[in-house]
Amino acid sequence: MRPNLQLDEQGRLRHFLSIQGLDRQMLNLILDTAESFAGVSNRTVKKVPLLRGKVIANLFFENSTRTRTTFELAAKRLSADVLNLNISTSATSKGETLLDTLRNLEAMQVDMFVVRHGESGAAHFIAEHCAPHVSVINAGDGWHAHPTQAMLDMFTIRRHKPDFGRLRIAIVGDLRHSRVARSQIVALNTLGAAEVRVIAPRTLMPNDMRSLGVHPFHDLEAGIRDADVVIMLRLQKERMEGAFLPSEQEYYRLFGLTEERLDLLHPEAIVMHPGPINRGVEMDSEVADGPRSVILEQVTYGIAVRMAVMSLCMQQTPGAES
C-alpha cells in the first residue's frame, strides 16, 4: 500500500484503511482522542456536534450487525446523518460495478464511506477512486484488515495496562483468515509491545507468520504461559469441518481457553475476544463471563474509538467542539 494514501499532505489522517503505514504517534492520537470521547456515552445527551451536517454512508457489502451498529452509533453521537446501505443485496447484484455504486453515492454528496467488503483491498480501492473530499474508513476487508477493531482492542488494553513495552500478548485461533489479527499485530508492534505470540494449529496459520513480527506457537499452553493479554479469535464454524480442522471438539480440547488454563497466564492478565464468541469452542463460558474477561468493555470502547477515527478523518477534533 502506498504509505501516504491514508494521510494528507500535512500528515493528518484522511482515510483509515489499515494500521500499516501509520506511526506510533498517530495511533496514540487516535487512542487519546477516543479517551476524550469515552465520557460522551455517560452524558444525558449522548451527542457532540462535531460532524453536524456531514453525511456518512455505511457501505456493507458483507453483513455485520454488530460492527454496523457501532459505526452507526458513533456517527450519530457525532451528530452526522447516516445512510445504511446493504450493498450485497442491492446494486452490485444487479450488475453494477463497485465504481458505479461509488459514483452514485458521491452524487448524493456523501462525506464519508464506512466500508465492509469480503475482498482484501476493497477499502483501499475505494479510497483510491473516490472524490477528493470523501474519507474512507475500513470496517473490515477480506482477510486483510479491520483497523477500528484493532484500535478498540488497543484502547481496551491501554486502559488496563498502559505500558505496551512491558506486555506479552498472545493471539489464539484462526490467524489465516483473520483480518482482526493482522491489524492487531501491526498495531501492537507499532505501539512497541514487548512480545506478540500467535497460537494456532498449522492449518490456521500462514507459513510466513514470522514476517509479521510475531512468535508462532502450535501449543496453546506454551504460547499463553505468562502472557499479560490473551486475545481469542472467533473460529468461523463454516471452516470447522473439512480440511482445516477435524472437529470443534478437538479444537476446543487443544486450543480452547479453560479456567484451568487461565492459571498459566500472568496473575493480572486480561482475556479479550472480538466477538461473537463460540462458547465451548474458543473458550468456556466461565472464562468469557469471568473476572479476567474484558470482552464487553471492548464493545463499549468500540464506539469511542470509531468516533475518534471518524472525527480525525474529517479533521474535526474534540477541541473544535462548540
Partner: protein, 425 residues
C-alpha cells in the same frame, strides 16, 4: 510484390549462427539473398538499417487475441497490429476463445480474420478436450488439418489424470506438441497471488508454489508414460525449473517457456493491491525469478513469450481478487528481453534466439529464421534506443501493463511480414 533491400544492418539469425553486418534482399514476399543481391535485382524500396539489428520476426507462443467472443477486450485486427508494432510476426493464440478453438470452423474463422488484417501469422492452438471441459477428447486430427500447431487445455484443468493421459496418448498419434500450464487447481483454490509474506500481509488468498510443482511432476510422469511431446507454458517457480531440467537431462522431449514479465517482477510488485500485477501464474519470489533467469540462460527455458492478455479498463478496476489476471504483453516482449541483455544475463543473439528460433522449434514451424526462400518475416530494431512506456500509447486494445513509466531498451523501427512493411516507427 515489393522488392526490398535492407542495407548495412547487423543481421542476427541464431538459426544460422549469423551475427554480422550484411545486406538482406527480399522479393515476392520471400528472402531472396543475404549479402550480394542476385544479378539484375532492383529494389523498389531500400531500408537503411545502419546501427540497427535485423533479425527474424519474433515468434510468440502465447497471445490471447480475444476473438471470437471477447471482442470487448480486443480483436485479431487490433492485436496483430500491436504485434507488428512489437516486431512479432508469428503468434500462437490460446484456445480459450468463445467458442473455444475445438472445431475446424473456429480455426478457419481465426485464420481468415488474421489474413484480412495481414499484419502477422496467427497460429491457433487447438483445444485438446471438447469445449476445454477436460472430459472428452477433441477431434485433434481435424484441428491439426485445419492449421492448429499445438494442442492445449488452456488454463483449465483436466477432469482427472486419466483424461489427461488419454489426451496425451491421442496427441502422440499425430505428433503434435501439447502445451500445459502446470497448475493443481485444488491447491490454487481461490488464490490470486503467490502464497508468501506479501499475501500474508495483504490478507490475499495465496497460490502456493506447490500448485505448480505438483502439476509439473504429474505431467512429466505422464509424458514419460505416453511419449508425448510436452511444452510447459508459463512456468514460474524454481522447483518447476529443477524438475524440467532433470526431465530434459533424462532425455524426455520436454520444452518450456516463461512469460518475460516473470523475469522482471516479483510478489513485492503486488504491494498496494496493484491489479496490473494480478497474474496467473502469480508473480513469485526473488529466488524463483532468479531460477527462471538462470534456466533461460542455460536454455532449459528455450522460449520467452508475452502471455499477452489484453483487458478492457473495467477488468482491472475492482478490489484486487475481483480483477481479471493478465498483462497486455506484446509490446513489452522485445524491450524486456533486451533488458535481460543489459542486465548481462544473455548475449544479444541469445535473447533473439529465445524470441525466434526457440519458440519456432517448440511448435515446429519454419518461422523464426532468415533462410533463403523463407517468408520474409523480419524485425528491425534500434538496440540502443531508450524510451519510457506510456500505456496510453500502446497499440494493443488492452492497456493493462505494470510497466507503465518504465525506462525500456530497444525500439522496433520496422516490421516486415511476408515481405511487406507492416510497421514503421
Amino acid at each position: 510484390m515489393n522488392s526490398i533491400s535492407i542495407l548495412n544492418g547487423r543481421l542476427i539469425d541464431p538459426a544460422a549462427e549469423r551475427d554480422e553486418i550484411i545486406d538482406l534482399h527480399l522479393a515476392a514476399g520471400r528472402i531472396l539473398a543475404i549479402g550480394q543481391p542476385p544479378a539484375g535485382f532492383v529494389a523498389e524500396q531500400v531500408i537503411d538499417a545502419r546501427e540497427r539489428v535485423v533479425c527474424p520476426g519474433l515468434v510468440d507462443l502465447s497471445a490471447h487475441l480475444r476473438e471470437p467472443g471477447l471482442e470487448v477486450k480486443a480483436n485479431i485486427a487490433s492485436e496483430t497490429a500491436a504485434a507488428a508494432a512489437a516486431g512479432i510476426t508469428s503468434l500462437c493464440c490460446a484456445p480459450d476463445t468463445d467458442p473455444v478453438i475445438d472445431s475446424p470452423a473456429v480455426v478457419e474463422l481465426i485464420r481468415r480474420r488474421a489474413k484480412q488484417s495481414g499484419k502477422a501469422m496467427v497460429l491457433p492452438i487447438g483445444a485438446i478436450t471438447q469445449g476445454l471441459r477436460g472430459d472428452a477428447l477433441s477431434e485433434m486430427a481435424a484441428l491439426h488439418e485445419a492449421g492448429c500447431v499445438a494442442l492445449s487445455n488452456g488454463l483449465r484443468p483436466f477432469k482427472n489424470t486419466q483424461v489427461e493421459r488419454r489426451a496425451l496418448e491421442y496427441a502422440v498419434t499425430f505428433g503434435l506438441v501439447v502445451f500445459v500450464r502446470p497448475e493443481d487447481r485444488h491447491l490454487r483454490g481461490n488464490g490470486c497471488v503467490h502464497e508468501g509474506p506479501v499475501a500474508t500481509r495483504l490478507g490475499l488468498p495465496g497460490i502456493p508454489a506447490a500448485a505448480e510443482t505438483v502439476a509439473v511432476a504429474r505431467d512429466i510422469a505422464l509424458a514419460e508414460h505416453t511419449g508425448a511431446r510436452l511444452h510447459f507454458h508459463g512456468i514460474s517457480t524454481a522447483t518447476a525449473v529443477r524438475k524440467i531440467r532433470r526431465a530434459q537431462h533424462d532425455g524426455l522431449p520436454i520444452t518450456a517457456d516463461c512469460a518475460v514479465h516473470q523475469l522482471h517482477l516479483t510478489e513485492q510488485d503486488v504491494d498496494g493491491y496493484n491489479s496490473d500485477c494480478h497474474l496467473i501464474p502469480p508473480l513469485r519470489t526473488l529466488q524463483d525469478r532468479e531460477a527462471l533467469r538462470q534456466a533461460l540462460a542455460e536454455g532449459v527455458i528455450s522460449a520467452l513469450c508475452s502471455d499477452h492478455q489484453p483487458h478492457e479498463e473495467d477488468a482491472k478496476q475492482a478490489p484486487f481478487p475481483s480483477t481479471e489476471p493478465g498483462i497486455s504483453g506484446l509490446e513489452t516482449l522485445l524491450p524486456l528481453s533486451l533488458k535481460l541483455v543489459r542486465d548481462g544475463l544473455l548475449s544479444l543473439p541469445e535473447a533473439i534466439a529465445r524470441l525466434t528460433l526457440g519458440p519456432a522449434q517448440v511448435v515446429d514451424i519454419p518461422a523464426g529464421r532468415l533462410s533463403l526462400g523463407n517468408s520474409a518475416d523480419i524485425c528491425i530494431f534500434d538496440p540502443e534506443a531508450d524510451w519510457v512506456l506510456d500505456r496510453e500509447q500502446m497499440h494493443s486494445a488492452g492497456h493493462n501493463t505494470p510497466f507503465h513509466g518504465w525506462h525500456l531498451p530497444g525500439r522496433v523501427c520496422y516490421t516486415l511480414f511476408e515481405g511487406r512493411v507492416v510497421y514503421q516507427s
